[in-house]
């Protein structure tokens, strides 16, 4: 019996206190000279996002409509300042261009903030985390017998007396926190997901909701302001020279009036809608699904609401701003230790560990390239993502609000693909991303089953309802 045996073999060796900085700070990476320049995390980010200015700016992939928004605002405001303001400042007061300028500045500031900031993206699980979760789910479900996929994974939590279901995200391999949702356009889970807005070219979530709200609010004021003063300008001019001459003298006013007229209805309407959402502390997603409406049952109420409108508004707009969790500009750290424990039967995750030597405290993102690149070779994957993407593209409403739509219409496309996919899996287990070395010995059959099941489950761009639908078909 060792003298210090009571607390295990650890006490036999002394540990000097070395700075634990190396485990959590990115500072060390520049010292570790790699042959190539150290990469920043945004360069290997797994979601469908675009990054600019070396990771400082983050947007969705489709930014065309955002440029349209910019052009509309800049052109209309520019024309206003160039053509209407000189006349108005002379005739009425120079405060008009001043106020207009302030409003314009505010609109542009909030628009750029909304579009360029991280909406609250949740980073994907590290392989170790995912394996641990899988193990817990298997324990909860009994055992993974292989052959067919276990039922959809949900966890129930009681929040303020209301039962909330937490869903498992197959792409990000996490249980989504309450109010989070997976955006299929950006392929990220976003905290407090409101909706994906093509007009700002980004998702609207926890971190940029207040910027979005201030943007639409200030834009409504600006639109109304410009519209009102353009009309005033034309009226004043037509008092002097007649209506048609007034229009001829300032043709820009006509354009501005038309743009503002059509924008006012939608923007003011949207501001009103979001004011209602803020005061009741709901997201667009929840409102559309009717998650907390009375129609679902008398017992149904919003557990996140603070009870009164004022507190709800303050919490949404003036509450603390949480930091970005994805650390876009951090450096990718090289791995230090490898998880040498036996893989717990989840061969998929065990495989990726061996691929990229996972470490205790390395940032998760280093694992992402190996995961995504390994899954890409599967033949059915990219074509399956096609129908889903076309279904949800170009829709300003939140993708997760139409799960039925995607699963119903997407299924018919996916059935033939699934069969070919299945065949591929059974024939060539070696091609799947798991080198034989990492597999638990003596279970090649269960291996191919679990792999088949897990490969189906891990088709990244599928909405999870569609995946569930696939599984129902395969079990028939």
């Amino acid at each position: 019996m060792t003298p210090g045996g009571g607390s295990g073999p650890m006490k036999d060796c002394e540990y000097s206190q070395i700075s634990t900085h190396s485990s959590s700070s990115p500072m060390e990476s520049p010292h570790k000279k790699k042959k190539s320049a150290p990469k920043r995390k945004w360069e290997v980010f797994p979601g469908r996002n675009k990054f600019f200015c070396n990771g400082r700016i983050m947007m969705a992939r489709q930014t065309g409509v955002f440029y349209l928004t910019l052009v509309l605002i800049l052109v209309t405001s520019g024309l206003f300042f160039a053509f209407d303001c000189p006349y108005l400042s002379e005739k009425i007061t120079p405060a008009i261009p001043a106020i207009g300028g302030i409003l314009f500045f505010f609109v542009m500031g909030t628009l750029l903030r909304t579009s360029f900031s991280d909406p609250g993206v949740l980073p994907r699980a590290t392989p170790d985390e995912a394996a641990d979760l899988e193990r817990q789910i298997d324990i909860a479900n009994g055992s993974s017998s292989g052959g067919y996929r276990p039922p959809p994974r949900t966890k129930e939590v009681i929040i303020n007396g209301q039962t909330v279901k937490l869903k498992y995200c197959f792409t990000c391999k996490i249980f989504r926190p309450p109010r989070a949702s997976h955006c299929s356009l950006c392929d990220n889970c976003v905290e407090r997901f409101d909706h994906h807005c093509p007009w700002v070219g980004n998702c609207v979530g926890k971190r940029n909701y207040r910027f979005f709200y201030m943007f639409i609010l200030s834009l409504s004021f600006l639109t109304v302001f410009i519209f009102a003063f353009v009309i005033t300008h034309v009226i004043l001019r037509s008092q002097q020279t007649g209506f048609l001459n007034a229009l001829k003298d300032s043709p820009a006013s006509v354009l501005e009036a038309v743009v503002c007229f059509f924008s006012v209805w939608s923007i003011v309407g949207l501001s009103g809608f979001h004011t209602y959402l803020i005061s009741s502390n709901q997201t667009t997603n929840e409102d559309i699904k009717g998650s907390w409406s009375n129609k679902r049952g008398k017992e149904n109420y919003n557990p996140y609401s603070y009870g009164n409108i004022f507190t709800n508004c303050c919490a949404a707009l003036c509450g603390p701003l949480s930091p970005s969790l994805i650390d876009r500009r951090g450096f990718i750290q090289p791995d230090t230790a490898q998880l040498a424990g036996p893989s717990n039967g989840i061969t998929m995750y065990g495989a990726t560990q061996s691929q990229s030597n996972m470490a205790a405290a390395t940032p998760l993102l280093q694992s992402e390239p190996s995961i995504t690149s390994e899954e890409l070779p599967l033949p059915g994957k990219t074509s399956i993502s096609g129908p889903c993407a076309t279904l949800t593209l170009g829709q300003p409403t939140p993708p997760s609000s139409m799960p039925n739509l995607t699963s119903d219409t997407g299924l018919t496309d996916m059935i033939p693909l699934k069969e070919e996919h299945e065949g591929h899996q059974f024939l060539t287990p070696e091609e799947a991303p798991s080198p034989p070395g990492m597999l638990p010995s003596g279970s090649p059959i269960t291996h191919s089953h679990t792999m088949h099941v897990l490969s189906l489950a891990s088709q990244d761009s599928l909405h999870e309802d569609s995946v569930r639908g696939l599984v129902k078909l395969s079990s028939v």
């Binding site: 980073p123 009681i158 929040i159 998880l339």
Partner: protein, 165 residues
């Protein structure tokens, strides 16, 4: 036998990472960041229950402080709004300040309590605020798991124990 002194870095190189334990989030209070204080069974032999619970409770307290909605956060929010949020370019938010405190606290806990027991806490910020990851290291100098390991540890441990004082 010479005293075996292991630095944390050497520990990582020479020790093998046996397993990782994940302390999950506790959502019973809503979306605020809180972690479960339930003691993981894998740490049973490694660390005293009370120390672990105290660490998690302190962390929960820090996060609650960061996300607190009160006078100062309103002031910060209104000021930021008034400047069209340009002030965030120069000023650090209250949340970021608390996160720095948390990171210092975790480092301190690692140095004082966890590293001597062969454990390592990872800042939840690096794991998307989803889990507190605790890495459990098995040191290769003394026993791992098998009986052959224990016999070597009894001889090595005896020497180390004597030399270690």
């Amino acid at each position: 036998m010479a005293t075996e002194v292991h630095s944390l870095q050497e520990l990582r190189r020479s020790a093998s990472l046996a397993t990782k334990v994940f302390v999950q989030r506790d959502y019973s209070d809503g979306t605020t960041c809180q972690f479960q204080t339930k003691f993981p069974p894998e740490l049973e032999s490694r660390i005293e229950r009370q120390l672990f619970e105290e660490t998690v409770k302190t962390l929960n307290g820090f996060y609650a402080e960061a996300e607190k909605i009160g006078g100062s956060s309103y002031l910060e929010g209104c000021l930021a709004c008034a400047t069209a949020y340009f002030i965030f370019l120069c000023m650090e938010t209250h949340y970021e300040k608390v996160l720095k405190k948390i990171s210092k606290y975790i480092q301190e806990q690692n140095e004082k309590i966890y590293a001597p027991r062969g454990l390592l806490l990872t800042d939840p910020l690096e794991r998307g605020m989803r889990v507190i990851e605790i890495s459990i290291y098995e040191d290769r100098c003394s026993s791992g798991s098998s009986s052959s390991g224990s016999s070597s540890s009894s001889s090595g441990g005896g020497g180390g124990g004597a030399g270690g004082r």
